[in-house]
């Protein structure tokens, strides 16, 4: 037996020696699912069809536009990025099926920007990317629970949490609408629960809170919501729902000439998406909105200009809006993570790169990111703006004043964050 072990040792040494030779000859070769010497495969699930797809279905096109630009400029360490997109229609069980396909059949290296709290939760419990060691990068949901690094150890958030957003909204209300009656429309699930926690932390008192079950939002429901807000005689109505809920509400409000002071959460606050549903731009005028990234019309901003130019070439005629900007920003951060992971790219090295360098990744956001070895928290704040007569969100007073906070009981403070300059040619370095 000992002789056999020695033989095994000799064989193993020979194999290692051979591997050393191979490693010398092909330095960039790595053995990892979804990674070859020429390609990195990523997978994305989100609603591309159905009522909830409104606006969000532009995200894959935006991400692909940046990846195509990246690939045309040599990719990452010689590898081209391929993005496989699956339509989950915002149905959690379908997100599970499609994610299984991406992992088992398409064999993607990582999941990128899956959308929706319920969907990401369903995938986490049924597909269990954490158990498989599959990175879930930059999820398109602000549910604060995904920052629980023990429970979702391979998941990275990017959007500021709904708790943070509600806390910042609450502070704004305190400063600007003291003594006014406030109403809240929210989604009756974890999305809304997070918002309620943030408002509670901010000490916001509501004259009325109107929940809606996910999937029930439509014009008829909106008429009912308005009846409730009218009865409560609210001055300010916060719409903390998805785009289709915001659009239904504003569309019916326009018909009924119901015009309180609107305050729109970022999830459902993209003006382009709202206007696409037929809501007159004037309804949005003077509404208050929140965003972590610059105004999409701000062509003086180097990131907005850069992304806008690429997108215009990749998807001619498609308006550049918040969903597009966020989609491209996510792809841009992903490219930097892939680059930072080095030529021997693995799932582990990718996550280690975000842990160690993610907080310094260049990106368009005007607020800091919280990535570290002990935190998978992404962006941590917002600036406050108002919608123009044409429905575009711009900073109040013409200057971005950003606020940052956490998902706990920390205070809301003005941010002193200095955004990194864009790397040369918008490529990871």
């Amino acid at each position: 037996m000992k002789a056999l072990n020695r033989r095994k040792l000799i064989t193993a040494s020979a194999v290692l020696a051979m591997l050393g030779l191979v490693a010398t000859a092909i330095p960039a070769q790595a053995r990892e699912v979804g990674v070859t010497s020429t390609q990195i495969k990523l997978g994305m699930t989100l609603p591309m069809t159905g009522t909830a797809s409104l606006g969000y279905n532009k995200i894959p096109g935006a991400a692909k536009a940046y990846f195509d630009y990246l690939n045309a400029n040599g990719g990452v360490n010689g590898r081209k990025v391929t993005l496989i997109v699956e339509d989950d229609r915002y149905v959690p069980t379908e997100a599970v099926a499609k994610t299984n396909k991406l992992i088992l059949r398409d064999k993607v290296m990582a999941l990128l920007a899956p959308l929706g709290t319920a969907n990401v939760k369903a995938v986490a419990s049924s597909v269990n990317p954490a158990r498989r060691g599959v990175p879930v990068l930059f999820v398109n949901t602000g549910f604060s629970g995904f920052a629980d690094i023990k429970k979702y150890k391979t998941t990275y958030t990017v959007l500021p949490s709904y708790v943070m957003e509600a806390k910042i909204m609450g502070e704004y209300i305190k400063e600007n609408f003291a003594g006014k009656k406030i109403g809240l429309l929210y989604q009756d699930d974890d999305f809304g629960t997070d918002a309620l926690a943030g408002f509670k932390s901010a000490g916001t008192n509501f004259a009325i809170k109107v929940p809606y079950a996910s999937g029930s939002q439509n014009a008829a429901a909106a008429a009912g919501w308005i009846t409730k807000f009218k009865a409560a005689e609210v001055d300010v109505v916060i719409l903390f729902g998805v785009s289709s809920a915001t659009s239904a509400m504003l569309g019916v409000a326009a018909q009924l000439k119901y015009a309180p002071q609107w305050m729109l959460g970022s999830v459902g606050g993209d003006a382009t998406t709202i206007k696409l549903t037929g809501v007159p731009a004037g309804v949005l005028y003077n509404a208050i909105g929140f965003s972590p990234v610059p105004a999409t019309t701000d062509m003086k901003d180097e990131y907005v200009k850069f992304f806008s130019d690429i997108y215009a070439k990749a998807v001619p005629g498609s308006p550049f809006d918040l969903n597009v900007l966020l989609g491209m920003n996510t792809a841009f951060m992903t490219a930097q993570a892939l680059k930072a992971a080095g030529p021997r790219l693995t799932r582990k090295s990718l996550m280690a790169a975000i842990d160690s360098k993610g907080a310094t990744f260049a990106n368009s956001a005007l607020v800091p990111a919280g990535y570290s070895k002990t935190s998978h928290v992404g962006l941590t704040g917002y600036w406050v703006g108002k919608y123009s007569p044409t429905g575009d969100l711009s900073p109040i007073g013409g200057t971005y004043v950003t606020y940052t906070t956490d998902s706990g009981s920390g205070p809301v403070v003005k941010s002193t964050y200095k955004r990194p300059a864009m790397p040369a040619k918008g490529l990871p370095n």
Binding site: K2, A122, D188, D189, G192, G215
Partner: protein, 544 residues
């Protein structure tokens, strides 16, 4: 294939007739063999009176496959009771699953004999069945001294019996395959009790849902429960779209109805808290008909329909097994006085939020089902009966021999989580074995990596499978989707298990590598992906 199965069952029935006519009436006498070739059939009864059947090919190579059948009701069910009416207690031996001729043919082609007992007692019977099997193995070896190896397999409760045999008598068997294995008696009946209790306190408070009287009176009460539960299911199905509540609903149920809570959301909630899968034979919780319901159907309706279909399939067993085990234990065995149903559905409430009609409705339902509501009294067990139930045979999950598990991912009676538990426990066992091997290396300098002794095969569902007619209504007459229903395996899948058992008995190792992947792919709808992970049965949420 159906035709083959029917023929095979007829042949088993013929064997039983032979036993009645010609077999010695004294139990444990030598088997009565027909001496035929190429397949010799022997019948007899073990000392407990359990009839058995052996079929031995002329080219017998010394290996025999012992099959343990699943749960059979231990009382006759009167005609007229939906779905299960007309059942008569039977202890007909079943030497291969469902008399599957393809499986028997494969074994015979390899020179492997088949063997199975009908067991003396039906119902929940692992204690007696394991003993029966031990005796049966001995009887077979005496009759066929050439016997060198025994592989054991079984379905459902037969899976529990098989695993139990492997745990208690690893010296008797070379490999084991518990298929669609039930969990131990307490977790299994806790899940049944949770569902029945939910149906009772919301939809029909006259349902007993356990705590049945002793003897014949209790059996009669269980029959009445069967009728009531199926009646409620029918009413819920009829009102699925409108969300109306059955006229038999409790005061609690009626209050929820008045508050606008749809009955389908209530049904879904009690299904989730009992751990019933949200994919069923015809409802995938993904597909929707073209038109206005394209998205609404999978989001709001399909999960409840799946619970309805699965719950209906599981209800008869839930009622009758509860009555059976209560009868064995001497009193009420279901207790939910300490159960936190809110914790039970913590993971699912966001996933099925739309079908549950949002957090406000979920909280209203959980409030109605909480111990604080006197209108939904919790069930209190008899401690002595619970102690007696716990004393019934319980598998530890220890893997002693090469073991193959296979289960449908949406099996409504023996959920995938029961098999997952063994997978997880074995991961711990393997880690301990590895640590011991490393420790041994310190003194021997001869490291031996422990051999993997567990292969988990999942019978998966298609990505989507609900079909709709031209009017947009779901079609429920199509064959059940793979991975759904109880122990719903194809002949090809069962033959794969048979092949794997034979290989394991020949080599001492489970199949692995490329050959395994190819065989699994050819059998169809199966996955051996180690990343698949199902939650354990809900009982363990309360008892971790």
């Amino acid at each position: 294939m159906k035709k083959v199965r029917i023929l095979s069952l007829l042949s088993v029935a013929a064997l039983a007739t032979t036993v009645l006519v010609t077999a010695p009436t004294v139990a444990a006498a030598a088997p009565l063999c027909d001496g035929k070739s190429p397949i010799q059939t022997c019948v007899g009864a073990t000392s407990d009176g359990a009839p058995y059947a052996m079929q031995v090919p002329a080219n017998f190579n010394g290996t025999v496959a012992l099959y343990s059948h699943g749960y059979r009701f231990n009382v006759d069910i009167p005609a007229g009771i939906p779905l299960v009416g007309g059942y008569k207690v039977t202890n007909t031996p079943e030497p291969v699953p469902g008399g599957d001729a393809e499986v028997a043919k494969y074994f015979f082609s390899q020179g492997v004999a088949i063997l199975g007992s009908g067991f003396a007692r039906q119902g929940w019977n692992p204690d007696s069945a394991i003993k029966t099997n031990v005796e049966l193995i001995d009887t077979f070896k005496k009759q066929f001294p050439k016997t060198t190896k025994v592989v054991a397999w079984g379905s459902s409760l037969g899976g529990v019996i098989t695993q139990g045999l492997a745990e208690k008598h690893p010296e008797l068997i070379s490999a084991a395959a518990p298929l669609c294995m039930a969990d131990n008696v307490q977790p299994q009946l806790q899940g049944a009790g949770d569902f029945l209790w939910g149906v009772k306190v919301l939809f029909d408070p006259t349902i007993k849902a356990g705590n049945y009287s002793a003897g014949a009176a209790g059996v009669a009460e269980s029959y009445a429960d069967l009728i009531k539960v199926f009646t409620v299911m029918g009413k819920l199905q009829a009102a699925l779209a409108t969300g109306a509540w059955p006229d038999t609903s409790s005061a609690t149920g009626k209050a929820l109805a008045a508050a606008g809570v749809p009955s389908r959301s209530a049904l879904l909630l009690i299904g989730l808290m009992a751990g019933i899968p949200t994919q069923s034979a015809h409802f995938d919780s993904i597909s929707g008909p073209d038109g206005a319901l394209k998205l609404t159907f999978p989001l709001a309706l399909s999960p409840a329909l799946a619970i309805l279909e699965n719950g209906t399939e599981a209800a008869a067993l839930a009622v009758m097994a509860t009555q059976d085990v209560e009868n064995q234990a001497g009193g009420a065995i279901f207790d939910n006085t300490q159960t936190d149903y809110s914790a039970r559905i913590e993971g699912e409430r966001v996933i099925y939020n739309a079908a549950l009609s949002g957090n406000t409705v979920i909280d209203a339902l959980l409030g109605a089902l909480s111990p604080a509501n006197p209108g939904a009294p919790r069930a209190v067990a008899n401690p002595a009966a619970v102690a007696k139930m716990k004393a019934l045979h319980t598998n530890t999950g220890k893997i002693n021999v090469p073991t193959i598990l296979m289960v449908g991912v949406a099996d409504p009676i023996t959920p995938a989580g029961a098999s997952q538990r063994l997978v997880d426990l074995y991961a711990e066992q393997y880690a301990e074995e590895k640590a011991a091997a490393r420790k041994a290396y310190q003194t021997t300098r001869d490291y031996k990596n422990p051999v993997n002794n567990l292969l988990m095969i999942w019978n998966t569902t298609p990505e989507s499978y609900t079909k709709f007619n031209a009017a947009g209504s779901p079609i429920t007459t199509a064959p059940a989707a793979p991975g759904t229903r109880h122990c719903n395996f194809t002949s090809a899948q069962l033959v794969l298990i048979a092949k794997s058992l034979v290989q394991a008995s020949n080599t001492g190792k489970l199949p692995s590598g490329g050959a395994l992947y190819t065989a699994v792919r050819k059998a169809g709808n199966l996955s051996i992906d180690k990343g698949i992970n199902f939650p354990w049965m809900k009982f363990y949420t309360d008892n971790q």
